[in-house]
């Protein structure tokens, strides 16, 4: 279900936060070039909750990775808020990611030896904030995902849903404009998945974050403001 069309967005003169033009990604496999993405062009407005869908190998994850600055396109440009992500070098990219992107993984990727609090604090270590400011932000982020009382728990002491919520807290603790989620509900039961999706929706609707999510699950996709289907490296809808 599409609540807001691209056209209506344009008519509202909302400036797109993500601006993709003719994006291609080729992989070499043996002697053959395989196109994971083929001349993709796409605008995403600030505050949208975009859902990327498509079969395995359709290129949806690759697109997500390029937008998040952890993979590079072969051709084309991907501008996020006036920054051409494809043109940044390794080191600049790292800084850019820290400030602009919050990443949520399918398998949570919490550091097993760190507590929930420490896991969320991790990206803040790069920001130069002092300890009390960091504490404040971490607490806010954890409260936001409803885990203010689980600060000192290790990942293995949490349920899958709780782990994923900690991961979301970690993604938003630096207050980035963009939240990127790669099948965030793939490893969760129905109840936990709903919790996580609610949080993501709130982030886009109330906090104005732009959320981009890859998923296979149509129920999860329903939470998005716009669904894009990819097939063989192209957007089909």
């Amino acid at each position: 279900m599409r609540r807001i069309s691209t056209a209506s967005l344009m008519s509202l003169h909302i400036v797109p936060i993500v601006f993709i033009r003719d994006l291609s990604k080729l992989y070499r496999q043996g002697d053959i070039n395989i196109a994971a993405l083929h001349d993709v062009s796409l605008d995403i407005a600030s505050g949208e909750f975009i859902v990327l869908m498509g079969p395995s190998g359709s290129g949806k994850s690759t697109l997500l990775h390029i937008i998040a600055g952890i993979d590079r396109p072969t051709h084309g440009s991907c501008r996020v808020q006036d920054t051409d992500v494809a043109r940044l070098n390794e080191s600049q990219l790292a800084d850019w990611r820290n400030r602009n992107v919050g990443f949520v993984f399918q398998s949570f990727n919490l550091i097993p030896v760190l507590t929930a609090f420490e896991n969320v604090e991790l990206p803040l270590l790069l920001t130069g904030l002092n300890a009390s400011r960091r504490r404040q932000q971490v607490t806010t982020a954890l409260n936001l995902v409803g885990l203010g009382d689980r600060q000192d728990h290790l990942p293995r002491q949490l349920s899958g849903g709780q782990e994923q919520r900690v991961a979301i807290a970690r993604a938003l603790v630096t207050d980035p404009p963009l939240i990127v989620a790669d099948e965030p509900t793939g490893n969760l039961d129905a109840k936990s998945a709903t919790d996580v999706l609610e949080i993501l929706r709130n982030l886009s609707q109330q906090a104005g974050k732009t959320v981009i999510m890859v998923t296979h699950d149509p129920k999860a996709a329903a939470y998005g403001t716009r669904q894009l289907h990819l097939e063989k490296g192209e957007i089909v809808v």
Binding site: Q106, V113, L126
Partner: protein, 416 residues
């Protein structure tokens, strides 16, 4: 050692020191999830522990061997009085192989650079040194002991040496005072015992203590008695006290320039400090072991750290996605490796302290006699041990850390 080799080692050490300093500095200045590393260490505690203990033992061996060399050097360095001048035959490399004549003694007595005592006599001690091969306690054979024949004046010139048991020998009698430290190593060295050397039966009447100096390896008896017993026409060395430092310089120059005397004069402390032949091979062994053992230890550390990197691939990728730079990752792992190695180093140093002050002995290459000395662990030595450990950690972690930094970020996204 060839100069090129020394230069190579020095520059290697300098690079290592710079590398370690850079790691600490970067860790201090930029964002490194130190807590993450310290906590991760627990995960593979078995191999980590083995590596830490291994590095600890390598450092232990290094520190202990060096402490032996330091002990020998310290014993020599703390021997003598800086005001005294030791005079020996030119060419003699040891006091015991020096021979000086009574004629030379008579000549020296008129040198006005030498201090006079209350009676107006010049302060000169003519000593007789004899090596006696004596049986050790237990079945470990015989060893040479340095018997020093001294006069009352010689004892005044060496206030370091104190009587700690029994009494001093009486002139004209076949009595001897042995070092307390030797008494634990040689048979019949208890007060009241007597032992035979050559034709003579000597009675032990007391124990002396040289306060950690080379005198701890000597036995003292009356000089004239020694000369008659061992049929020595000549003395071995002279120890004199010049009037003042200026007179000392003049005296040395005068004796060196006097072609007829054929003597060599040097400050007593300087003479002993130069006795480094015995410590040299121990230092060499310490260096050799440090080098070869560290190769093995670095391989092992690399294996452990590579495994750590391999197991944390996903975590490293996550850190990178969160915005950590490659250099953060490198420093993170280097810091982990260095800190772990230093933990081992601290362990090794701590264990080595157990031996600190423990007395042992060997054959002195200079005096050709049993020389006692103590394992001496100085703060400098501990510092060297810790640096050695840090260096092992640095080189053992460098390649794994670089590998960690070069892991593709996408690897963070692969579920197992």
């Amino acid at each position: 050692m060839p100069a090129v080799f020394t230069l190579l080692i020095d520059s290697f050490l300098a690079i290592t020191a710079l590398g370690i300093a850079a790691v600490f500095l970067t860790a201090f200045l930029s964002a490194v999830p130190v807590k993450y590393n310290l906590k991760s260490v627990y995960i593979r505690w078995r191999s980590t522990l083995a590596t830490v203990v291994g590095i600890g033992l390598v450092v232990l061996v290094f520190v202990l061997l060096q402490s032996l060399a330091v002990g020998i050097e310290k014993s020599n360095a703390s021997t003598g009085d800086p005001r005294n001048i030791l005079i020996a035959r030119k060419g003699a490399t040891a006091e015991s192989s020096s021979l000086v004549t009574r004629a030379q003694l008579r000549t020296l007595q008129y040198f006005e650079e030498i201090e006079r005592n209350a009676e107006g006599d010049p302060v000169i001690s003519a000593d007789v040194l004899v090596l006696a091969s004596l049986p050790r306690i237990g079945p470990s054979g015989e060893a040479n002991v340095l018997l020093r024949g001294v006069t009352a004046r010689g004892m005044e010139l060496r206030p370091q040496v104190q009587l700690v048991a029994g009494r001093w020998f009486s002139p004209g009698r076949r009595e001897i005072v042995v070092s307390r430290k030797l008494a634990g190593r040689f048979a019949n060295f208890k007060v009241g015992d007597s032992f035979k050397t050559g034709p003579a039966l000597l009675t032990v009447v007391g124990w002396l203590d040289g306060a950690g100096s080379a005198y701890d390896s000597e036995c003292w008896m009356d000089a004239d008695e020694s000369r008659s017993l061992f049929e020595r026409e000549m003395y071995s060395t002279f120890l004199v006290r010049p009037k003042n430092p200026e007179a000392a310089t003049n005296l040395i120059r005068r004796i060196e320039n006097d072609k007829r005397l054929q003597l060599r004069a040097e400050s007593e402390t300087g003479y002993y400090r130069k006795q480094t032949l015995t410590a040299a091979p121990i230092k060499w062994l310490a260096g050799f072991l440090a080098l070869t053992m560290s190769i093995g230890a670095v391989f092992a550390a690399m294996n452990t750290m590579y495994a750590a990197v391999g197991a944390r691939t996903r975590e490293i990728g996550t850190l990178r996605v969160l915005g950590f730079h490659r250099r953060n990752v490198i420093v993170t792992f280097l810091l982990e490796g260095i800190l772990l190695a230093m933990l081992g180093g601290a362990l090794g140093c701590l264990i080595s302290l157990k031996w600190n002050g423990y007395t042992t002995a060997t054959l002195s290459i200079e005096s050709f006699s049993e020389t006692v000395f103590a394992f001496t662990i100085t703060p400098v030595l501990v510092g060297q041990g810790m640096f050695f450990a840090a260096a092992l950690g640095f080189w053992g972690t460098l390649l794994p850390a670089v590998r960690a930094a070069r892991l593709p970020i996408i690897s963070a996204l692969k579920s197992l």
